[in-house]
Structure formats: C-alpha cells, structure tokens
Amino acid sequence: MSTDLIYLVTGAGVSMLGFRGFVTRAHLFWKILGINLMGSGIFLILIAAPPRLPGGEADPVPQAMVLTGIVVALSATALALGVALRVAVRTGRPYLEEEAGDPVDHPTAASEIRREME
C-alpha cells in the first residue's frame, strides 16, 4: 500500500511539473516534452490509485488503458515533432508566432533561396 502512495504523490508532482513546462516554456520541443511528462504522471496515478490484486499485480483494466495510452502518446509525439520541425523550417525558429518575440531576421527556407538566387 505504501508503495502505491509514494507513486500517487510522484504522479501528481510529475504531471504538474509537465503541465507547468508546457505552459511556461516557449520552445515547441519543451512543450512536447512537457505534455509527455504530464501524460506519464497521469499514467502513474491511473496505475497506483486502484487497489492491487491479491498477487500484487496492478489492476489489469487500467494497465490495458495505460498500455494503449503509451502507444497513442508516442504517435502523437511523432506527429507533433514533425509539425514543430516544419514550423522551424518555415519561420526559422521552433516557436509559435505569438510567443517568438522575434527581434532578429532569422533565415527561413524561403529567405535562403532568395539569398542564393541573388
């Protein structure tokens, strides 16, 4: 029982750290990392909250849900990284426009072609 309690608290801490990272960091990669950590923390809560089976194994139903969740989180991460890289190519930086606060003219794919053609 005590093990479950420790990981319940850990799950709460990790998920909120992830949420905070997602909200406060401007760099898109850290936002993706933050969402992933938030998910991991919630997975911990899902497994640690329900009572264990007599043999000490975790409840199979949330285990199946979390297993599904890990795979879905991975595919969403892959897609998000692809989009973030695309943003970096188009705007020159991996930031959302409203958060970039861009004082420098960063080279984008288009501006480099322009430079080469000149």
Binding site: N36, L37, A49, L53, A58, V66, I70, A76, E99
Partner: protein, 357 residues
C-alpha cells in the same frame, strides 16, 4: 517489514521528480532529450514496483527507446540548421533564446509556488481517497474463462475492450498519414552499408541485437495470450530493431510511396475490421468473437498488430525528422520546405502550385 522497499521506492520517486524538474528547466535541448530517456527508464522501474510488468516492457521500449530516438533525431535536425550561422541567427534552435524564454527569478519562484500548491492539492486528494475493494478485476476474472486467453491484460485489450484497441490502431495509422503528409520521407539514412567498416560498434551491435529483438518480439506476441507480453510490447521491440537497422544503414528507409509499407501499415486495421465484421455476421455484435474461435482470432489480430505497430513506428522515426532543405535532391522538388511542393519566388510570391490554393 524491512526498510529496503521504502528506500527503493523513495529513490525512484525522487529520481522521477528530479529528472522531470531538470529536463523542463534546462536551457539545452540535448540535455533535456537525454534526461527524458533517463526519465523513461526510471519510469519503467516504477512500473515494476507497481506490479505492472507489461507497462515496464512497453515503457522501456517505447517511452524511453523509440520516443528518445525521435527526439534525438529531431534535435539533430535543429542543430544542423544552426550550423554555419552566427550565434544570433541560430539562437533559440537547440539552446533556448533567453530573450524569449526569460523569466525573472521572482516570477519563476511564484509560478513554482502556484504549481506546487496545485500538485499538493492533487496529491492530497489522491492519498485520502477512501480504500475500496477491487471491482473491475473481479469482473475480468469472472469473464476470463470465456475470453479465449488467460492473460487478463490481453483479454481486456483484445476482447472485452477490443474497440479501444481498434481505435488505437486507427490513431497510429492517422499519425503515420499525418507525418507522411508533412514531407516526402527522408533519405538521410540511405547510408551505404559498406561504410559500416568505419563504425564497428554500430555494425556489431546491430548484428547481435536485431536477431535477438526479432526473436523476442515473436515470443512476446505468442506469450501474450497467457503471460506478460502482447502485441504492443512485441511491436515496440521489433520497431526498436527496425530503427537500429535503418540508423546503421542495413535497411534502406522505405518512403511513404512504397506500396509494401502502406500495406503493412494498415494490415492490422484491415485484419481487425474484417474480424469484427465476421463476428458481426456470426454473433450479431461487432467484435464479439464467435465462441470457440476466440483464441485463434485474438492470435491473428495480435500478429497483425505486431507487424503494423512495428512498421508504423519505424515509419514515424524515418519520416519525422526530414527537413527537405538538408537534402539537395529534395530541395529541387521542394525548395521551400513546403509540404504542398509550391515554389516561392525571391519576392515571396508563389510561382507554382498557387492555382491550387
């Protein structure tokens, strides 16, 4: 009761919190990526302590392994963009731009205070939840006899809640299509196998690890019916082997254009749907397997799932990091880095492809 389990759990919990804090706080993307892999491995230890061996397997292979490889790859693409540029031009790519991400120490402290309060409240609610007897495991146990498999997790995934798993493979296929639509597939890994002589460790390691991983994947698929294992862990392992093969140059990365890849990617979706339809006509309910045929059908779906998950994960790895401008061949096709293949003139106007807008 000895104190050892307490110490072990305490160390794992502190590591998880510490790694999560550090990787979100650091300003160096490479450090964050490596710490994220360490976080995944530590989390798989936590799964073992929580009695969830299936999750430990999946976390080590997927959460730490494949996700880590994805992030490292994407990191490298960003780092390459910064090469040959001034510090000012490349700031904000792999090292945080302080002008954008700057937070005053007081504000940081205040925000940690607020988030700490929320986390504390959440933890308090969770810890004070009234204890109760298991409900769902009892239901699972009662129905396990008719499930066709004796591993309760596989029974939940592929019988009781087969809809979830069907929709999950839909999500995977959707992610693959989404990544494909972002670019045309990377040739970055089209390395000549003859070059492997320069990298003896990579070559020898792949020769050792890949056959073992393949064998273990087959074993896990088979054993999932009655013990720890199953299609997800097996697919993840096979995907890890595939990523290693591609990264080492043994296997040419197949692009989205390859019909074979597409067929293997949707194999599980097709097989699963056909099984569902067959059981619909047989028993009148979608995915309600005909009595007696459960084991065979579940094994069939599991096999297809393993293959498709492995192929999709390798595809996600191969395709995600491609930035066309890095590739002279693709640059001609796609000089703007535009997924629609439009060409931008020096003054920023569309030259080609604008009509389709």
């Amino acid at each position: 009761m000895s104190a050892l389990p307490w110490i072990l759990d305490g160390v794992v919990a502190l590591l998880l919190i510490g790694l999560a804090y550090r990787l979100l706080d650091t300003r160096d993307l490479f450090e964050a990526t490596v710490l994220y892999i360490a976080f995944g491995l530590t989390l798989s230890l936590a799964w073992v302590r929580l009695g969830a061996a299936d999750l430990a397997l999946a976390e080590a292979a997927l959460g730490a392994g494949v996700t880590g490889a994805l992030f490292l790859n994407a990191y490298q693409r960003l780092a390459r963009r910064g090469e040959g540029r001034t510090d000012e031009e490349s700031s904000g790519l792999t090292v945080v731009d302080d002008r954008v991400d700057e937070v005053s120490p007081a504000a940081a402290l205040a925000s940690y205070g607020v988030w700490g309060l929320i986390a504390g409240g959440l933890a308090w609610v969770l810890v004070t939840l009234p204890a109760r007897d298991p409900i769902l495991p009892v239901l699972v146990d009662a129905a396990l006899e008719d499930a066709g498999v004796s591993n309760p997790i596989t029974a939940v995934l592929l019988n009781f809640r087969a809809y979830d798993t069907l929709l999950e493979i839909v999500v995977l296929v959707a992610a693959m299509v989404g990544v494909w639509s972002l670019d045309r597939g990377s040739r970055e890994f089209a390395r000549n196998p003859a070059d492997l002589g320069d990298e003896p460790i990579l070559g020898a390691l792949s020769r050792l690890v890949v056959p073992l991983a393949g064998l273990t994947a087959v074993y896990l698929t088979w054993t999932g019916a009655y013990a720890t294992g199953g299609a997800f862990q097996a697919g993840a392992l096979a995907a890890g082997a595939g990523v290693l093969l591609v990264a080492a140059g043994f296997m040419r990365p197949v692009t989205s254009a390859a019909p074979f890849t597409r067929a293997l990617g949707v194999l599980a979706l097709v097989v699963f749907t056909v099984v569902g339809l067959v059981s619909l006509f047989w028993t009148g309910l979608f995915l309600d397997y005909p009595p007696g045929a459960e084991y065979g059908l579940i094994l069939l779906v599991e096999g297809a799932l393993t293959v498709s998950i492995a192929v999709i994960l390798v595809e996600l790895f191969v395709d995600v990091p491609a930035i066309p401008e890095d590739d002279p061949g693709l640059r001609v096709l796609d000089p703007t880095g535009d997924p629609l293949g439009r060409v931008i003139s020096p003054d920023g106007a569309f030259i080609r492809g604008a009509e389709e807008e």
